[in-house]
Amino acid sequence: MAELGSHIATRSLPLSGVHGGSSMVRLEPAAPASRISLRVRAEDVPALSSALGVDLPVKPKTSAYANGRTALWLGPDEWLVIDEGESGLMTAAANSGVLHSATDVSHRNTAILVSGPGAAAAINAGCSQDLSLDVFPVGACSRTLFGKVEIVLLRTAEDAFRVEVWRSFSDYAFGLLSEGARDAAL
């Protein structure tokens, strides 16, 4: 039955077709990306950094970017690594030769890009963290709560954030961001 086997499955994105935002906040689903949840002990961080081509940050609430890959510090032995292209992350991690855990979570998460002068205010509709630039500068990242769902928040520019969220929570996150965006425009 080769004719069936040769049907290659196509990808359906969780937030396809959604739109929202306001005069002060732009909301859009991010392009598909590859992601791994990476767990490494402190002594093995350099090996993984070199295997992945991006220095895993060791300072809380920071991220690093290199070669199309962003590594986000989530916990003392935990990173979310996002590759804008088509993966290779699992293989790269496996090639580190040191003890670690890499798990593909490319499809677990989806992302929403929030930008514009009201971006922080829109996110603060449901996020209890201080998003002022002093406390949450460009490059800062954190797992946190947004309304009733967990997100990973990354500041990509002074007025731009990437909101990583589990796919089944993405409708809710987008909906709440839309409400926040509407209010942030006032």
């Binding site: 359906s12 490319s106 499809h107 205010a121 406390v135």
Partner: protein, 991 residues
Amino acid sequence: MSASSNSGAFRIKGAGRHTPARTARFTFDGKSYTALEGDTVASALLAHGVHLLGRSFKYHRPRGILTAGPEEPNALLDVSRDAARRQPNVRATVQEVFDGAKISSQNRWPSLRYDIGAINDALSPFFAAGFYYKTFMWPKEAWHKIYEPIIRRSAGLGVAPTEDDPDHYASRYVHCDVLVAGAGVAGLTAALSAAATGKTIILVDEQPEVGGALHYDASTMIGGQNGYDWAQAAAAKLKAMPNVTVLTRTTVFGYYNHGFLGLVERVTDHISRPGKDVPRERLWQVRSKQVILATGSIERHMVFANNDRPGIMLASAARSFLNHHGVAVGNRVGVYTAHDSAYEAAFDLKRAGVSIAAIVDNRDRPGEAVLAEARKLGIDVLAGHAVVDTSGRLRINSMTVARNGNFDRRKIKVDALIVSAGWTPSVHLFSQSRGKLKFEAASQRFLPDVYAQNSISVGACNGTDDLAELIDEAILAGGGRVALSGENRFEWTGGMIGAAEGAGPEDAVKAFVDFQHDVTAKDICLAVREGMHSIEHIKRFTTNGMASDQGKLSNMHGLAIASEMLGRPIPQVGLTTFRAPYTPVTYGTLINHSRGDLFDPARKTPMHALEEAEGAEFEDVGNWKRAWYFPRRGEDMHSAVNRECKTVRDVAGVFDASTLGKIEVVGPDAAQFLNLLYTNAWDTLKPGKCRYGIMTREDGFIYDDGVVGRLAEDRFHVTTTTGGAPRVLNHMEDYLQTEFPHLKVWLTSTTEQWAVIAVQGPKAREIIEPFVEGQDLSNEAFPHMSVAECTVMGVPARLFRVSFTGEVGYEINVPADYGAAVWKAVWVRAESMGACLYGTETMHVLRAEKGYIIVGQDTDGTVTPDDAGYGWAVSKKKADFVGIRGLKRPDLAREGRKQLVGLLTKDPKEVLEEGGQIVADPNQPKPMTMLGHVTSSYWSENLGRSIAIALVAGGRAKVGETLYVPMADKTIAVEVTGMVFVDKEGGRING
């Protein structure tokens, strides 16, 4: 008619700060009125000479406007924009008029002027405080059936909305260095000072404009200019600073732990036609490093006989209506005071052309300065006198005055009476922050003493009366440098708390302490007489301070009266707790976005839309929406499920199992870790194989279950129940991080990484075979309980050979974004081969036919693995696992525990009720001895009869016995059986 006279006959030309040309029309009890923009409902109605606004809670006494602010206890109205935007219990003194507002009075029938309920006032001798505790007891049922309904109807104030609220509300979390609560002189000064340090500041005030007391106090000069004008300029300066946010019409309603404050901003209630994107109110949740409390003080009323008639109001309120709104509260105004501040109100009124009947001063010696000024203005001052009564049914028309200690009385005609007993510092927020108060005997007030949080009180709320001192204090609190000076016309002295002359314990008059709840001085005396010696008892017995103003006016008076009755100083009687919120807060604001789709996330699988298109009905399982069954045209649930059940066993079915929890367990010690967390042994499981696992907590009761596949030596794919996924992961992390941190293993939630398409039934292999690459699906190569990483439709997949139906079964795991495409392709092929889609209901029936349990349905947190018939899953060889000791406790090891068994009704057509209770003797008297209950019960189309699973005491030893399930209308006889009803040999699962 000029615009200004149009806006009310009591509008004083040249007075007030509103623009005469800008008007708004509204109705009150059906009659139309014109107001000026900036008017409150109170000022607008007063401008038209309307004083009667409501009826009191208990006695239905006519009531007017007592204050000009949020402490208003009387003038509560129903305000609506349209039918759905109707708001009960709105304070007329806070609500700004907007064009088109429809306003009605409350708690009266048939009308405000003639209210039947007022009969309560005549009967009031019977309705003393707490009278209801002493009667209405016979006959027994009469309380609930007769008395209570009557009381309930006459109580309450406004009428609840009857339509869903069409408005929306917003929310904002925000952080700052300093939050300043209150934008009067003290708050503005502190904010200017703090802002100069570069810190981030939020300045909050509940009024539409900043200024606080400067709204009514027209004589104070700040920085060389009129105080109110200075305040507006200061606010403008602050607003222009990048580090400052100024929020007006915003109330700090709660000061909670660790610098957390709740603010409500009223965004549109004053606007005639708000934009549709504008929220009605906005909740600000602020975390502030420091809080400057500049909340001011509240004037108290005088407690004397019939002190509640419309037309009687606080002196500062009258001053506010005059100086801010340009409205005179009467033509001939009496003054009754124990404090100098009321004199200034009289002066302002007099200068505006209002006649002052007399200033009755309860003190023998009023302040020299105000006395001199009164003389200068020709105002009659009766020092050492009291107002001992008033008259006028719907509005005051006279006050009766007597010299203190003298019985001679004389009536003085007035059409309004303004009162002041002095000022109560607003320590509500300080107290909410858990600061400790001290009582300052000289000034008879509670003041902040010991702070519990990083906050500081400045100004009137701190007892600082002197303007220069107040400014210095505020500058110091702000921490910056500001040059500022201010000047008062008069230094105020005086003040009293408690009942005034003629309203003491021996006087049989109604002197109101708490207006809204109709609590009189007498009631407080009665409470003390009845043994209520704690202020909390007095409060609860009389309901003093429990109305919607929460005692802002009444608490101090009540306390003083109780103190006098008890013969104990005030600090020993205590003060009741100030609780949040400072003023009532709309539920809609507190919940803001959490409504409709945003009430609680509805989690949907990647195949949800496709299932919906196939006609699926969904059920809620935790946050998930799961396909429940797939009715075809004309089918009800029962027939759909019967068809699905039959089709799966005869052909095959396709099922969405994506919601099952999944945890990736990775690391060299993964097997060892699972050994500790599950009752089973895992080191013996070979890569490529799966095993059903049971997890207990330390107490030995089943916590979760699921199939675990070993993908590699150091990698397991663990599944959990749908609802259990988050707590199982938390439970695992807890042990890993804190009990077994030496293990080299990590856990990652992968629930949502994978879409899971289960294909079950005799034709399952044939259906999926063409899609799978890289795995031989033959029984030999891939038997039951296998797992493989392979490719499905060109996508990397994890394929499980597992079954929850007893048929040949596969679960295809593909990365979630591919789920829809794979599901669609599989379903097209399955359908062409006669298979069906099935949902959770069919899944439940099929697994029950095989005796597979559902954790949470057949177990309930009190069931051990052995109780469930899964004793085999508890390793006897392991030295340790979570639950090993709990399982050995006496009660868990005893004979006769409830065990899961099968039940077959004697009448095969009879389907038991899930939750039905089981007894041995259905004819025993109640209370019956119950042996257990039915946990699962279904019609089995495959067997042509009903089947059930039950927890029964000593159940496995009772197999073959007849037991009974007594229902309300009949008793059902059942036979206890084993749990497997279909394919007892278990051959089908291997295909």
